[in-house]
């Protein structure tokens, strides 16, 4: 397959490039020119080509919870959102704490998936927080990081060991930062809103004390720490200070944390229930500042599908989590680029080059010659309303349903093959 994208604005932060030109791909790689004429020519007029987006935090639910999502449906939703690679968290059933489960996911992804799937392994067996999983074996099977996401590694000694042990594999330890005692039975941010609603609150400090602890342990061990889903001003500041001290820490946030406050919980709609919970305006602003000054390296979705039956209940009884693949790019464009929090290149960097560097995804996150031809073509003029009917994910749990957006993915290319083309009327 020889592909030519003609006359397109190319934004590639890995090369600090923002200029109009052509992109060529042959045999799944970016090339400077094709060996013979193209099989497919894409007109790039009024469009933008960027390296394929990498989502470093998602839940594909397979194996074990196929009613919520599968690798097949999840990767289609990702492709629609312009995402070409996803890291999937290990809280599946069984958990990704053994090589056969890693192999199953990779095989399924190869057979039924349409974007690249990179499994994350458990830090501890069954994510129970008690014994380290066989991280070396998992690495060999294909994991790119470890995490007990969904839960923290509560035992500080085990977290210390994990940060030490993973150094030999250069595997980041992803921290779901939550002090379970402080967050106990909480269902939303502790604030004026939780007080009025009579819902139990999760204080910001439940996140921040764990961020602080893990940073200290990263300093102690010299291990690679990646803080997942940063949601508070305090966490941003802790990461900022840690980076200044030269501690090996990176961080991600999610679109909902730079877009929404806990005001939207006011009608007890469980589509606004996530962990960490939506915070307050000063946190939203601090997350934006953290993105702008480089404290926060990545923008990930924490795509967490749950069925309508699970979500359409009393707020306390509904599970935490929202889907995110299909709104990631539009939220970044509208909330960060249009509002001048980040330049287009700066925003794309956090979904391409930075994730590839942090998780050692060789040949991805860039449009350099020789790189794997994962390409996202953005249509900045595309305006649409995000409707339930348009969702490709198996679950529809999004607080953004009904929101109007401008800008989204037009074409998604994975390994040199077109896997998604937007149908627009």
């Amino acid at each position: 397959m020889r592909l030519q994208i003609k006359n397109i604005r190319i934004v590639d932060p890995s090369q600090k490039k923002d200029s109009v030109g052509d992109i060529f791909a042959e045999n799944g790689r970016i090339v400077s020119k094709l060996s013979s004429s193209a099989d497919k020519v894409i007109d790039g007029k009024n469009k933008i080509a960027v390296p394929g987006l990498i989502d470093v935090h998602s839940h594909l639910r397979e194996p074990g919870q196929e009613g919520k999502e599968t690798i097949k449906t999840g990767t289609r939703a990702a492709a629609k959102g312009g995402i070409t690679s996803v890291l999937c968290m290990p809280n599946t059933k069984p958990a990704i704490d053994n090589a056969p489960t890693v192999e199953f996911i990779l095989l399924k992804a190869q057979k039924e998936g349409i974007v690249n799937v990179f499994p994350v392994g458990c830090v501890t067996k069954s994510s129970a927080g008690e014994e380290l999983s066989e991280i070396g074996v998992l690495k060999k099977a294909g994991i790119v990081a470890v995490s007990d996401d969904g839960s923290p590694v509560s035992n500080s000694q085990i977290m210390r060991r994990a940060l030490e042990y993973t150094k030999m594999f250069k595997l980041p330890v992803i921290s779901h930062s939550e002090d379970k005692e402080l967050s106990k039975s909480g269902v939303m941010n502790e604030s004026k809103n939780s007080m009025i609603l009579g819902l139990r609150g999760i204080p910001k400090q439940a996140e921040e004390v764990m961020v602080a602890r893990d940073i200290m342990l990263a300093e102690l061990t010299g291990g690679y720490l990646h803080i997942a889903h940063v949601s508070t001003a305090g966490s941003v500041e802790l990461v900022r200070q840690a980076k200044k001290k030269g501690i090996k820490v990176t961080a991600e946030t999610c679109p909902h944390y730079f877009t929404l406050t806990d005001d939207v919980v006011r009608v007890y709609d469980a589509n606004t229930k996530m962990n960490p919970p939506l915070r307050e305006i000063k946190d939203v602003e601090a997350v934006k500042v953290g993105l702008a000054d480089g404290t926060i390296d990545c923008i990930a979705t924490d795509h967490a599908p749950h069925t309508a039956e699970e979500k359409n209940k009393e707020f306390d009884l509904a599970p935490f989590g929202i889907i995110g693949f299909e709104t990631l790019l539009s939220l970044v464009l509208n909330e960060l680029v249009d509002k001048k929090v980040l330049s287009l290149s700066g925003a794309i960097e956090k979904m391409t080059h930075n994730p590839a560097l942090i998780f050692n995804l060789e040949g991805r996150g860039t449009l350099k010659e020789g790189a794997i031809a994962d390409i996202t073509i953005i249509d900045p003029k595309y305006s649409y309303e995000f409707t339930k009917e348009s969702i490709l994910s198996k679950s529809k749990n999004s607080p953004f349903i009904g929101r109007k957006f401008q800008g989204g993915a037009a074409i998604t290319i994975v390994n040199g093959k077109i896997v998604y083309t937007a149908i627009r009327d």
Binding site: E190, M195, I196, L197, V267, Y268, E314, F315, D316, L317
Partner: protein, 314 residues
């Protein structure tokens, strides 16, 4: 007169005019109590369902009497709390009741927001009879009415709420109603039983009851849940009694005509001493009587099957 709404989910959503409408509507219903025929035909042919996921004989009975005095047909449904998690969904239960042509559903639930979820999904009028730590609007209204009846005004009244504010839906409904009507509200209790940001509702916070009680025209004592001690929210019942029981000695520091209220059921000898509960200042039994009249007024003022329009202002 009407509230021009189908549901009563919380007093947060009523404005001063709505609250005055309720106050003005209670008296005629109350005067009915002294007649030999205590019934009005207002809700003839209407069906009122009490759907209680949490037992409360008092509140349920009060609603039942109110509905019957308005000539409605009343059905009581008690749902076993343990079956909630795995059982039929709340929405399905509500839809079943609506299919049986319930016009009013009065719901008591241990989880905040359960009435909101029903209101959003049904055409029947939903009345919140207490949900989690959120609100208990009819209790708030009956407290408001009792103060209005005894003190002849609300504006400028100094009302003190004492005890477990954190877990009290009654406190929340009281605060909304009273502050909107121009009363000055203060709360007193240990910091561990005080919700953070409570002062943002315009109330003054005291940890010392002796200090707080001096100014008050009304003291509303909340029931203390003894299991809160297990959660380490206070060290012992003994210590709570020492610090926060309304005793005769403490009452002596208050204004002589201070009104003592309690939403019941009382823990005599814990949050309130028997002497105080039985003192002439206490209007606890009148609150119960007023509860029926207020609930009649609410049933009368709501509009079931009004086009469903769900917003946070509902």
């Amino acid at each position: 007169m009407s509230l021009n709404r189908k549901d009563l989910l919380g007093l947060e959503h009523l404005d001063k005019k709505d609250l005055q409408t309720v106050l003005d509507s209670v008296k005629p219903f109350k005067s009915l109590f002294t007649r030999s025929v205590k019934k009005a035909p207002t809700l003839i042919g209407k069906t009122v369902v009490t759907l209680f996921y949490e037992p409360s004989t008092r509140t349920r009975t009060s609603f039942e009497i109110a509905a019957k005095r308005l000539s409605a047909d009343v059905v009581n449904i008690a749902v076993n709390a343990s079956s909630v998690v795995k059982g039929e969904s709340l929405i399905d239960t509500g839809k079943t009741l609506e299919a049986m042509k319930a016009d009013y559903i009065i719901i008591r639930h241990s989880l905040a927001g359960a009435p909101d979820i029903l209101a959003r999904n049904l055409n029947a009028s939903i009345i919140n009879a207490g949900d989690g730590f959120h609100e208990h609007p009819t209790q708030g209204l009956l407290d408001l009415y009792t103060m209005y009846e005894k003190k002849k005004k609300i504006e400028g009244l100094k009302v003190l709420l004492v005890g477990d504010i954190l877990h009290s839906r009654v406190a929340k409904s009281n605060i909304w109603a009273l502050t909107k009507m121009g009363a000055q509200v203060a709360v007193a209790g240990p910091p561990t039983l005080m919700p953070s940001k409570i002062e943002e509702l315009g109330v003054k916070v005291y940890y010392n009851l002796d200090e707080a009680i001096k100014e008050a025209d009304v003291v509303n004592i909340l029931r203390i849940q003894l299991e809160r001690q297990q959660e380490n929210l206070f060290p012992s019942v003994h210590e709570y009694v020492e610090l926060y029981q309304l005793t005769k000695d403490r009452l002596a520091k208050a204004k002589p005509n201070v009104l003592i209220m309690h939403p019941g059921p009382m823990n005599r000898g814990i949050e309130i001493s028997s002497e105080v509960a039985d003192s002439p200042n206490a209007v606890i039994n009148e609150q119960v009587t007023n509860g029926i009249a207020v609930r009649m007024a609410v049933l009368y003022l709501l509009k079931p099957n009004k086009a469903r329009k769900y917003a946070s202002s509902n």
